[in-house]
Amino acid sequence: MSTKPTATSEAYVAVQQSPEFQSLRRKFRGFVFPATAFFLAWYFLYVLLSIFAPGFMNKHVAGNVSVGLIFGFLQFVTTFAITFMYARWANREFDPAAEALGDHLDGSAK
């Protein structure tokens, strides 16, 4: 682990400056930033509801199940679903795109 510039780190910068890399980077941010914003908002909504709308959260749906309980359960489900989607997206779309770019830059960057 060294902090000195090396041939590799120059190669990193060279790759980074290519327009293909910039579009790859946009692809990554285009997925990750909105996803983060969404799950944080969804999560904070649950807390807001449980503080300001206890009546709504208490509403019975069936038997011993209330709206709040379903909401709470859904939170776990969505967290899992988002992680799953992210992993699938990264494996199917982002990594292949990154690899294609790697092949394309082969010789110039390596």
Binding site: E10, Q16, T36, M57, S66, K110
Partner: protein, 502 residues
């Protein structure tokens, strides 16, 4: 009121931990084996280990205690624990992996090119580790007292000794094995009694109702709750997870990025499955005992629940299972923390000081063994001196310190090229001083009254984390000349997918 079955279960978990730990002694040879298990852990085993480590005393006992005392809306607490993982995964994990740094301190040194900031980070890792170890040891004391009547210091001491032996014996590889085993012990221990108790409750015609409406106490009531406290804790959980030293290192024990992601998916599944059960105990506890028996703590509701519904041997069997599971929780989290703290003490302190006092010719791994002992002795002594404040809230303070220090460092370090060494240093100092002063005041019991000041000190994250971010950014903008010289190369490296350059 000694319960021999529970005691036997606890002893069994401790012995199993030691046995697996000593097995690891034979298989771990290289240094990378010791710290990151040779980076060769399969996703399923690694995910079990991560979950095993993450589900601490706060999860096994504390969450049920919170839901029992404050209502089912406290579910956001475990949801926050899992959410922190997601934030870490999508924003930080991949760039950290690519940096090639083993620890938070390594990353800080690499990104900011300063030895001083490395020292600061090392001190923080040790501090946060100790904050997090304290409730594990306290929890062990509470659990052991509940099943044997022994004083609380015994439990913490037992956990410290077992962890010290397991860590110094085998390092990360054997700890990974131990923790993976402990996850499944914990899930079995919390789910099986839950199903049995629910069946007992259904079969009993005179059983009290489990109406969720009676559980839904508004978060606006009671001390320490309310909008401010809730959001503060949320922020601490979302941002703090990335700054917990024992969590981040886990992303290095996978062979590659693909496996790291797969691991996280499995982790969130495993954590979600576990968190279904603590609320069951809280609900049963509320239905059967609206008030706790004399001397019992809300954190003990999980261990108490079987005795509320059953008596005799069946109750003792179930609470033995739960006691064993709780000990697995203390042991696995404490091992991960002790591993991180000892690693830092060994790398940054022992290896520099030991040769000076004992000469160059030291026995293999003397440093890490000494570091493990010191790393565990300090929090243990603290638990002897202080009365426990509440497991989930003490763990919350560790998250708050992490959120006010490593979160700005990591988030800005990974995503903001204009971060300067001066800015990062200022942010770390402001964040650590404010958050740890507040946490210290809470631990010492200065925040028991209902004033605003007490609330701000008990829940520091909502102001200390943004403050640390603002200071880091402001000082960075004021010192544009102090941008580390290789920032561009480092940033390029952090954000270039591995497949491009390998």
């Amino acid at each position: 009121m000694t319960q021999p079955l529970s005691l036997a279960a606890i002893v069994a978990v401790c012995v199993a931990t030691l046995a697996i730990g000593s097995y690891g002694l034979r298989i771990s040879r290289a240094t990378s084996d010791f710290y990151v298990a040779g980076r060769q852990v399969t996703p399923w085993r690694n995910a079990s280990a991560i979950s095993g480590e993450y589900l601490s005393a706060a999860s096994f006992l504390g969450v049920a205690g919170l839901v029992y005392s404050r209502g089912i809306d406290m579910l956001w607490f475990p949801i926050g624990y899992t959410m922190g993982y997601l934030v870490l995964l999508v924003l930080i994990a991949a760039p950290m992996r690519r940096s090639g740094a083993y620890t938070l301190a390594d990353f800080a040194e690499l990104r900011l090119e300063s030895r001083r900031i490395r020292g600061l980070c090392s001190a923080l890792v040790v501090g946060i580790g100790w904050f997090y170890l304290i409730p594990q040891l306290q929890g062990a004391g509470i659990a052991l007292r509940q099943v044997t009547g022994w004083p609380t210091w015994v439990g913490g001491t037992v956990v410290s000794v077992v962890v010290a032996l397991a860590v110094s014996a085998g390092g990360m590889r054997s700890i990974t094995l131990v923790q993976a085993m402990q996850y499944w012990v914990k899930v079995t221990a919390i789910s099986l009694p839950a199903f049995i108790l629910l069946a007992v409750w259904r079969a009993d015609p005179a059983a009290p109702s489990l109406d969720p409406a009676t559980l839904w106490v508004s978060a606006g009531t009671g001390p320490g709750s309310g909008l401010y406290a809730t959001y503060s804790t949320l922020l601490a959980l979302c941002l703090g997870t990335m700054g917990l030293p024992h969590v981040l290192v886990r992303f290095y024990t996978n062979p590659d990025g693909r496996d790291a992601r797969r691991t996280t998916v499995v982790v969130l599944g495993l954590l979600g499955m576990f968190y279904l059960f603590p609320p069951v105990y809280a609900a049963l506890g509320r239905a059967y005992a609206s008030r706790l028996p004399e001397g019992a703590r809300t954190d003990g509701i999980v261990l108490l629940a079987p005795h509320l519904l059953l008596d005799g041997t069946s109750a003792n069997l179930l609470s033995a299972l739960l006691a064993g599971g709780a000990f697995a929780a203390f042991l696995s989290t404490a091992s991960g923390l002790a591993m991180s703290v000892a690693g830092i003490l060994d790398q940054d302190v022992a290896r520099r000081l030991l040769p000076r006092f004992a000469g160059e010719d030291l026995p293999d791994r003397l440093g890490i063994r000494l570091a493990t002992v010191v790393g565990l002795a300090v929090p243990l002594v603290v638990t002897w001196l202080l009365a426990p404040v509440g497991l989930a809230s003490t763990v919350g303070l560790a998250f708050a310190v992490a959120a006010s220090t490593f979160a700005p460092l990591l988030a800005l370090g990974v995503w903001w090229p204009r971060l300067t060494t001066a800015g990062a240093t200022a942010g770390l100092i402001v964040g650590s001083v404010t958050a740890s002063l507040a946490a210290g005041a809470t631990l010492l019991g200065f925040t028991s009254d209902d004033s605003w000041l007490a609330l701000l000190l008990a829940q520091p994250a909502a102001w200390s984390a943004p403050l640390a971010f603002v200071v880091t950014i402001a000082v960075s903008l004021l010192t544009p000349g102090a941008i580390p010289p290789h920032t561009r190369a480092t940033m390029a490296r952090l954000h270039t997918p591995e497949s491009l350059l390998t």
